[in-house]
Each structure stands twice: as structure tokens, then as C-alpha cells.
Symmetry: D2
Subunit: 126 residues, 4 copies
């Protein structure tokens, strides 16, 4: 089960390159059987929780000035979330960067600068 060679766009889209590397990683280990969208979405939230765990007892201010060891651990959790997100999007045939750009454009309409200034989304949305 040899994965396809890297697609031509990989050179300019590093996220697509990561998706191909993850596909190869799963194929080599015969792990595609575990990679249903349902399972990958579960694995993603579990990693998001491991990320949040680093901050749960910190004040907001403390969360902005991590010690090097904790920053390195946080960096690994960010990596884990991104890996599962890219893998999930790839299994579903979704381009996550294009989806993010579309959503940001949508949010710009949803939260006009003048009406949103200084209010958190939550309050704005209520």
C-alpha cells in the first residue's frame, strides 16, 4: 500500500505536504482502519484538552509567560492538535487553509469593526 507521490502543490502548500506525510505514516502502520472522521475528531479533542490542561490553573497573565519547559510541552500539544486536524481534513477531502480563509472573511462580516470593538465575541453574539 504505497502512498501516492507528493502532489505538485506541496511545494507551495506546507499543509498539503503535512497531509501527505500523515497519510504515508498511517499507511505504513496500517492505521487507516482507525482513522474514521469520528475517531479522528475524538483524538483531536483529546489533544485539545491536553493543551488546555497546561493553562487550567494559571491566571490569564501567567498563561502568557510560560517557563521554557512548559512552553516546549505546549508546543508539542499544539503540534498534536494540528496533526489530527490536518489528518481529519484530509480524510474528508477538505482543504483546511482554504476553509479557514473563508471563515475569516465570514467573521469579518459577522463582527463589523465598529460594532465589535472591545466586546468579546460572546457578548457580541448575545
Amino acid at each position: 500500500m504505497e502512498p501516492d507521490p507528493p502532489a505538485p502543490q506541496d511545494a507551495t502548500d506546507p499543509v498539503a505536504g503535512l497531509a501527505r506525510a500523515l497519510e504515508r505514516f498511517a499507511a505504513e502502520r496500517d492505521w487507516q482502519q482507525f482513522h474514521s472522521p469520528k475517531n479522528l475528531a475524538s483524538a483531536l479533542i483529546v489533544e485539545a484538552a491536553e493543551l488546555l490542561e497546561h493553562f487550567q490553573w494559571l491566571t490569564e497573565a501567567q498563561s502568557g509567560r510560560l517557563e521554557p519547559a512548559q512552553r516546549a510541552a505546549v508546543s508539542e500539544e499544539i503540534a498534536d492538535v494540528l496533526l489530527y486536524l490536518v489528518r481529519l481534513a484530509d480524510v474528508l477531502g477538505i482543504d483546511p487553509l482554504a476553509a479557514a480563509r473563508d471563515k475569516l472573511a465570514k467573521n469579518a462580516l459577522r463582527y463589523p469593526v465598529e460594532r465589535s470593538r472591545g466586546h468579546s465575541r460572546k457578548y457580541d453574539a448575545l
Copy 2:
């Protein structure tokens, strides 16, 4: 509070380009005050849950063949997770793509092909 002009690497790193766009988005709305790492990690897991919610009552097989409307909704949730992830990483000064590549290299050592074939990570890790 004008954001910095795009850094030179943006042309070849679309994730860094997204980080700059998100920084500008927050600055224009005076939302940086809400964007502590602690808060962003919470917002990220909330979006990860909205993503998982689409799959929670589906079988694994059903989760792989979504109807167009549900696929579009899932795509938006993937976008939301990526937006918060990129923003969180940026606030912490972490390059998420580099972190993901490092972690994938680490995982390749941790789960050697021969010993990992056909076993889920979970069982392998036990």
C-alpha cells in the same frame, strides 16, 4: 494599533499569513485583551467539540460519507479550530507547522513501523 507589515516569509508560509490576518482582525476590534493563551485554548476546545458533535451519534462508516450540508458545516468547524490554533500559537510565538513536523518525526521513532502495524496507538502505548 497598526499591525506590522507582513513578514517576508508569508509568501511561502500560508499559516504565517493567516496568523498575520488574525492579528489584524483582533487588533481592529480591540480583542487582543481577550486573547490570553488560557482563553484561546478554551475557545479552541469548544470549537473542537462543535466539530465532534457532528459525528457523535454516527457510526464510523457514516462519519466517512457525509451529506453535502453536513460536510460544509464540518468544514466550517475545522476552519474554526485552525483559526484558534494559529492564533494561540502566534500569541505564544510558536510556529505550528514546524512543531507539527518535529512531532511527526518524534512519532516515527516512537511507533516503529514493524512494531506498530495494525495496532491502535492506544494499545501500542500501553
Copy 3:
């Protein structure tokens, strides 16, 4: 598929009473087919995220003085988490109150008063 009549201990264990009501609720709607532990654990975390969402942009101090409408919404999310937790435990044949008491006793040994005073778990655990 008529559920069993309430067990005698229900009178003194309100959590067991809730488990019986939930079993009946699922049976009447033929929803037991969806209530695998895997699915219920997903539904539980989705509700936990809806709970967290109320607090994500608040300061810690603000989170302790909710307006009546927000407090009522939070109360409903707490209810949803408890309902799925009781249902999941019941499907697995686990008594959640007994498990909680056992864990609290274990935590008392793990975090001795003198050594734990004033430190968050996280730091203590490191």
C-alpha cells in the same frame, strides 16, 4: 423492551434513580442503539464544552458572578453533563458516587494537606 422496575435502593440513592429514569427514557425512544460508551463519552465532552463556552471570555472573577439568565443557562449545561455521565456509568455498570468517593480518598493521600497548601494541583503534580 420494557425497562426493569426501579431497584429498591432508588429511595436512598438519587443518582441510581436518575439512571433508571434515563434508561427508561432511552428505551421508550429506542435510543439504546446509540448509547455505546464510546458515543456517550463523546456526547459528554460536547456538553462539557457547552458549559465551558459560557466562561471562555470571562475573567475568573466574572465567572463567579453570573447574571441570572447566564446562571440558568449554565445550570442546564451542568444538568446535561450529569445526565450523560450517569447514563454512561450505568451502561458500564459503574456506580459514579462510589467511584467519586473512592477517588476523593485517593486524592487525600496523593495531596497531603501540609505539602499541597496553596499550590495548584498542576504545580504540585510536576
Copy 4:
């Protein structure tokens, strides 16, 4: 900072008894300072993720027949979720059992037996 003596209802409400034990546990360690609703809601979802992690790579059928060691680990995670849920509700002055009973009554109206039979909530809600 001596906690109040157990309230009279503890004898018949084991959840209130647990809330009092948790309050004492926190007071003895001077941990109330960390127990803002915001922080407790984060800790709760982190425990919900540790619970989900046990099931993420299992099939639904496998999730219903755990080995004794895994069942014991799951039981501890259920305990952790319940402990944080009871503590969070107590800090907010919410009775979680009463809230759960109210919500179940509301759900019975929202999902009438005849219209809901055999459909998952998700589809029903759409």
C-alpha cells in the same frame, strides 16, 4: 478557615454530601483560590477528555466490553468528572441533581416518544 458542619440534608442527598467533602478538601489545602467557575469548567473538560481517550480508537462494540483494568481506569475518570462537576455546581450554588431532573423533564417534551423513536438526537434536532 474551618468548613461549615455538614448540612442536615446530607443524610438523604449523597451529592450534597460530596459537595461538602470537596469544599473541606479545597479549604484544607487553600485551593479555593484556584476554584473559579472558569477554572473548574476547564478542569472538568480535561477530565472528560481523559475519559473519552479510553474509547477513541475502540469500535462502539469494543467500548461496551472493557477489560477489568481498562474498566477500572474508566471508573476513575468518571469519578474525576463527577468530582469537578459537583464542585463547580457547588461554587455556583446550583443543585446538580435538581437541574438534571428539570432537564430530563424538558427533554421528554422536546423529544416526544412517537416522533423520536429510533432517530438519534442529532438527526431529530436537524
